[in-house]
């Protein structure tokens, strides 16, 4: 049985996706949570321990505060309040911190420091897993036990003004709300005015218990101009006056009620020096938290530095303060100073409730909970507490009571700290078994790809499916049995924490069978290699010296890039790696072109016995073992001598200038979006263009880019799609005008900003139309065989449909990226690949490199923060999960996808050899799998690295997504290849 190498590669990548998915499932641990479901209302609170005596305290303690106002300022870094900026711009807050009745803290936010996970942490007290960041894109309702749900169940009336995320998390919880959107990051006044304008009215009213305000302005200023911008000071003063307004109003009201009120000022995360957030630098992690209430006693003249607490501690404290049960998955401690002024019995009661909740959570999540130090301390303090209560009820002398009481209190506080420490450690445990199985799958696929490389890239592009010998097949039958036995052993000993063990038996068995099949395939390929190697050594390889510099560069680049993934700073600066490689590639091409032009083809296929054998040695020796497809030379014999020597006139000049043109384009694109970490804060063209003062320039640039796109794309389309393309591009401009990014020439200032639904849908119609025409053409070429032009036109139409979609989704300042990518593709096709006759493997690798570079040119980086979520909202009224996810993915991976589809176009239109597409597919699969497989190993070995969450995990997600895209591309390639062979 024979298999095309394209099909083979596509299958391999699909299996690899499975492996990576399994690895990801094991790598991102499921968050610590309570399994006892949502029927929490029925459960009664833990009674006070009383050691025989009968205590009447079996119900929840009454609330400590009558009203609670939570004022959350997005990205409120600790030094904005406690540092010099706070002293300068927030005088009232500083006064409260230093002299007023308040407790101030530096609350540490755990990474990922992104708004939604932080809100969850504040309200549930749990640590949302890293995977929640990805779910941040679609903000589902918060189902976990949390303070808001508890408060609503207890009949509290909650009012919310601010970031829409809250409304998405708690859709039915607020009696009144007004969500502001964080969609337009450049707006930092109106988002906050929309919150503040309700304040006067609400503060006068008495019909609410909890008021939550979420101010986004500070965060938006950070994103647009960084933490040292003068706008920050103005925003802080504004926030200070809001705080003063709320505080005075609460104070004046307090005189009429019995209970005091509580005002909480906090931030969700900090702000890095570049102005963003999401990672784990000190600036991003440390936020300010101030609790203000007249209940807090303050001795005069006692100056305190803000203490360090965890952000998760707020949930437990709020629950106690409002007289609610503590959320079940909360791992936080009660912030003790809040209850310090209460009588000893109440203090102990609160601490007891908190420890009981934490120890329950520990019991549910840690099988060996009895050995945990926190649990032992809890048991001891509970017993002591019981004794204390008995003494108290027996009315012993107050001296003994208070001494014993403070001892119990200390015990409780220690227990709390130990419990939440072991719980937060639990949240970061890896499921090593699933990880290992995933890694094995991926590595086997990689080995298979590498081993079958020489044959898959040979002229026929076909592979034998080996039929193993009987002894060998016996081994292959025994392997799954052995693996199944291993699986059972691992699962029984690990005790249900693995994902694989929780799968049904059939699925797990399927995975085992897959692993053993792959292993057998690898082994048989290896034996085939040795058998074939003996045959090969008899007829030595031909001298294929033509462009081995280029091949060497490709090999070095692939190996170098793969190795660079092991270092965190190289991952952060991966854009630089790709720019560097692409530039070097251009220079190598330049060298090749000049040599060809001025000296003629100096490497006709002849034996070349001297000079430069070092290169040949590298290229010929490690057949099949070295990564990189460069070692397989093909289609070389058909080369005519001196392809460039015959060129004359302007075309010759264009050929000579083309590498420099491409280099200039790349340099321009590079200065459009600064990415990475070290240089991300540098001023770039993108920021200059998006600032509101330069709307005219941006409009001109966008218009020019759209026209360029049209000119470059239309020449190979049919008439109908030409017209559709023109209308589509016009629609894109209208859409950007409608949402306020661009201007029409006759329009000085646009007043009304809409969501541009109509315009965007207008463009979608044309995108679908063009894609449909293209598919129709392809199908037609299937039926009416050997109609070659119909097929190429159809493919090009699909490509142009994708270009149109990308133009719609990319931000307007990124339109030049699209236009220049088309320019580079045209130049490369016309003046480099076609005249120099590179083989399919080289062209594929070049496409891949350019695709990667364009991924970063459009402003992406290896941190989650740069994903442009707004692409998922184009043309949609509300968030619809599946289209939004598809659109965001496409917008993020525009570069790689467009270059891959250009590759299909190029190879089909050249049609030099029938096997080019399958070669390309194989190369593409191989060159994508090498970094992924290496990265999985790196990540596994670095899983306790300091930057694992902030640097390595986001990159892992990016790699996984990239592999998924690659799988889609390979399947598309194979489909095209099938139609090719049939026609």
């Amino acid at each position: 049985m024979r298999l095309g190498s394209g099909t083979f590669a596509a299958c391999c990548v699909v299996i690899e996706v499975l492996g990576v998915a399994l690895f990801l499932r094991g790598f991102f641990p499921a968050p610590v949570c309570s399994f006892s479901g949502t029927e929490h209302q029925t459960e009664s609170p833990a009674p006070e321990p009383s050691a025989g005596a009968i205590s009447n305290w079996t119900k929840l303690p009454p609330p400590l505060f009558s009203k609670v106002v939570i004022m959350l300022i997005d990205a409120l870094r600790d030094d904005f309040v406690f540092g010099s900026k706070g002293v300068k711009f927030m005088p009232y807050t500083t006064y409260l911190v230093e002299k007023g009745s308040s407790h101030s803290f530096v609350a540490e936010a755990k990474p990922p420091t992104v708004t939604m996970p932080r809100i969850k942490a504040l309200m549930t007290g749990s640590l949302p897993g890293f995977i929640d960041v990805v779910r941040n894109l679609n903000s589902p309702t918060l189902l976990e036990d949390n303070v808001i749900t508890r408060a609503k169940a207890a009949g509290k009336r909650i009012i919310f003004y601010g970031d829409e995320t809250w409304v998405k998390l708690f859709p039915k919880h607020f009696v009144e709300y007004d969500g502001t959107t964080s969609f337009f990051v450049s707006d930092y006044t109106e988002v906050d005015d929309n919150v503040t304008r309700h304040l006067d009215k609400v503060l006068k009213r008495r019909d609410w218990d909890v008021l939550i305000l979420h101010y986004l302005g500070l965060d938006h200023i950070g994103h647009t101009s960084g933490p040292s911008s003068p706008l920050i000071g103005r925003k802080l003063s504004e926030m200070d006056s809001v705080l003063m307004k709320i505080h005075t109003s609460l104070l004046s009201e307090e005189r009429e009620t019995l209970l005091p009120n509580l005002l909480v000022l906090c931030g969700d995360h900090g702000m890095s020096e570049a102005g963003g957030h999401g990672a784990s630098s000190v600036e991003e992690v440390n936020t300010a938290m101030i609790l203000i209430s007249s209940a807090f006693e303050r001795k005069p003249g006692d100056v305190r530095r803000p203490k360090y607490i965890q952000q998760t501690d707020l949930a437990a404290t709020l629950s106690i303060g409002l007289g609610l049960p503590i959320p079940k998955s909360s791992i936080g401690n009660l912030i003790f100073p809040v209850v310090e002024g209460k009588p000893m019995r109440e203090q102990l009661r609160f601490l007891h409730l908190n420890t009981v909740q934490l120890s329950k959570l520990l019991q549910e999540n840690v099988p060996s909970y009895k050995k945990e130090p926190g649990f032992e301390q809890f048991k001891v303090s509970e017993r002591l507490h019981g004794n204390w209560v008995r003494l108290y009820l027996e009315e012993n002398s107050s001296e003994v009571l208070s001494n014993l009481g403070s001892k119990v209190r200390r015990q409780y506080l220690d227990a709390l700290r130990a419990l939440s420490l072991s719980l937060s450690r639990q949240a970061a445990q890896y499921d090593v078994y699933s990880m290992a199985v995933g890694t094995v799958l991926v590595l086997e696929v990689l080995a298979l790809l590498l081993l079958s490389g020489p044959r898959a890239l040979s002229g026929k592009a076909e592979l034998d499916v080996p039929l193993p010998s009987p002894a060998f097949s016996l081994l292959c039958y025994l392997l799954p049995l052995g693996l199944a036995a291993l699986h059972v052993t691992v699962c029984t000993s690990a005790g249900g924490t693995c994902y694989l063990c929780s799968l049904p038996w059939l699925t797990a068995g399927g995975v085992m069978v897959l692993i053993s099949t792959l292993l057998c395939a690898v082994l048989s390929a290896l034996t085939g290699m040795f058998a074939g190697g003996k045959r090969l050594s008899k007829n030595p390889p031909q001298c294929n010296s033509r462009s081995s510099e280029l091949d060497l560069l490709i090999l070095l680049g692939t190996v170098g890039h793969t190795l660079s993934l092991g270092a965190s700073s190289f991952i952060e600066e991966e854009p630089q790696t790709w720019y560097f490689l692409v530039n070097t590639l251009c220079l190598a091409l330049c060298h090749e072109i000049y040599r060809n032009c001025f000296l003629g083809d100096d490497c006709a296929p002849q034996r070349c016995p001297h000079a430069g054998e070092d290169f040949d040695g590298v290229a010929a020796a490690p057949q099949g073992k070295s990564p990189g497809p460069d070692v397989w030379e093909l289609d070389r014999a058909s080369r005519h001598p001196s392809p460039l020597g015959v060129l004359r006139g302007p075309e010759r000049w264009m050929v000579l200038a083309s590498p420099w043109l491409i280099l200039t384009c790349c340099r321009l694109l590079r200065s459009l979006n600064q990415t990475g970490v070290q240089w991300a804060h540098r001023p770039d063209l993108g920021h200059w263009l998006t600032s509101p003062d330069h709307k005219v320039e941006l409009s001109v640039l966008a218009a020019v880019s759209l026209i360029m796109i049209f000119v470059l794309v239309q020449k190979r389309c049919s008439l109908a799609s030409k017209v559709a393309m023109a209308f589509g591009l016009l629609g894109i401009y209208c859409y950007r005008v409608a949402i306020g990014n661009l201007l029409f020439p006759w329009q000085q200032n646009n007043k009304d900003i809409s969501k541009g639904i109509t315009e965007a849908r207008f463009v979608y119609v044309f995108v679908l139309g063009i894609l449909f025409t293209g598919t129709k053409g392809l199908l037609k070429s299937q039926i009416t065989a050997d109609d070659f032009t119909v097929k190429t036109v159809g493919l090009w139409e699909i490509y142009s449909g994708l270009v149109l979609l990308a133009a719609l989704l990319l931000r307007p300042h990124n339109l030049p990226v699209l236009a220049l990518s088309l320019v580079i593709q045209t130049i490369m096709t016309q003046f480099v690949w076609r005249p120099l006759r590179h083989n399919a493997a080289e062209v594929t690798v070049m496409h891949y490199w350019f695709g990667q570079a364009f991924f970063y040119f459009q402003g992406n980086s290896n941190s989650i923060a740069t994903v442009d979520i707004s692409a998922g909202f184009v043309g949609l009224d509300a968030y619809v999960e599946i289209p939004a996810m598809l659109l965001t993915t496409f917008a993020t991976y525009t570069g790689p996808v467009l270059w891959a589809s250009h590759l299909v176009n190029f190879l089909t239109s050249e049609a030099s050899s029938g096997s080019a597409l399958s070669h390309a597919c194989f190369c593409y699969a191989l060159i994508c799998s090498i970094p992924v497989s290496a990265y999985i190993i790196f990540v596994t070995s670095l899983r306790y690295h300091l930057f694992i969450w902030s640097v390595f995990s986001p990159k892992l997600l990016y790699e996984g997504m990239h592999l998924l895209i690659t799988a889609a591309v390979c399947v598309f390639f194979t489909a095209m290849d099938q139609t090719n062979t049939k026609s």
Binding site: S545, A567, S569, F570, E572, E573, Q576, T577, Y579, F580, N583, T584, L587, H591, Y594, R595, F598, L599, D602, C603, C608, P609, H610, A611, G612, E613, L663, T664, C666, R667, R670, S671, G676, Q678
Partner: protein
């Protein structure tokens, strides 16, 4: 090809290396606070001047390509001027390439240019000395099977290793170690220097090693 040729090549290369070493140590006697890292630009100037001077002197003394037919004064002057223009052009070309590679366009322009000058000294000056202002000859030497003497062969090796050194020197820049030599363009100039020196050392050895296999068309 004789062993004496290789010996001569080795001595010439050792002199070049010596000039670089001198450029590191001699100036500290005359200049205060001189060090390669802190007063990097000064060192770059001194290094390129000394390497150029040594190359010129050696070229005049050794005369590796004896086949200069005409030797009228005007011919020599135009040739020299042409060489100067070629050298300047190569400096600017390298500067442009560095900017294309991502060096800042406006700030640090002097640093970038001095890197270009240094790299030109290591690569263009020997080329000019040996091959003269003849672009086609250059291309010939730097393509496969184009070399016609051990001098050209060693030129090929030193030039390629200087380029490679500069190229590799750019790698540590993104690392967050915060070392002084990670600043632009210090790591690249150091890379270029190390590459050049490595080329100077390895090329006679390599030629000696392969002297049986090397056959030149014109020898």
């Amino acid at each position: 090809m004789k062993d004496t040729d290789i010996k001569r090549l080795l001595y010439v290369h050792l002199l070049c290396i010596f000039s670089i070493i001198l450029s590191i140590f001699i100036p500290s006697f005359f200049l205060e606070n001189f060090s390669v890292l802190e007063t990097h630009l000064t060192w770059l100037c001194i290094c390129s001047v000394s390497v150029t001077a040594v190359n010129l002197v050696l070229y005049l003394v050794v005369k590796p390509n004896a086949s200069s037919k005409r030797s009228s004064l005007s011919y020599k002057v135009t040739r020299f001027l042409k060489c100067c223009i070629y050298f300047l052009m190569s400096c600017f070309a390298f500067h442009v390439i560095f900017v294309l590679y991502g060096a800042p366009l406006i700030e640090l322009a002097l640093e970038t240019f001095l890197l270009a000058v240094t790299l030109s000294t290591f690569t263009t000056v020997p080329c000019l000395c040996l091959l003269g202002p003849n672009f086609k000859a250059w291309l010939r030497v730097f393509s496969r099977n184009g070399v016609t003497s051990i001098w050209e062969n060693s030129l090929q090796i030193t030039t390629v290793s200087s380029f490679l050194g500069t190229w590799l020197g750019a790698f540590p820049i993104p690392l967050d170690w915060g070392r002084p030599w990670q600043e632009w363009p210090i790591s690249c100039t150091l890379g270029a220097t190390f590459g050049y020196v490595a080329g100077l050392v390895t090329s006679p050895l390599w030629i000696y090693w392969n002297r049986k296999k090397l056959t030149y068309k014109n020898n």
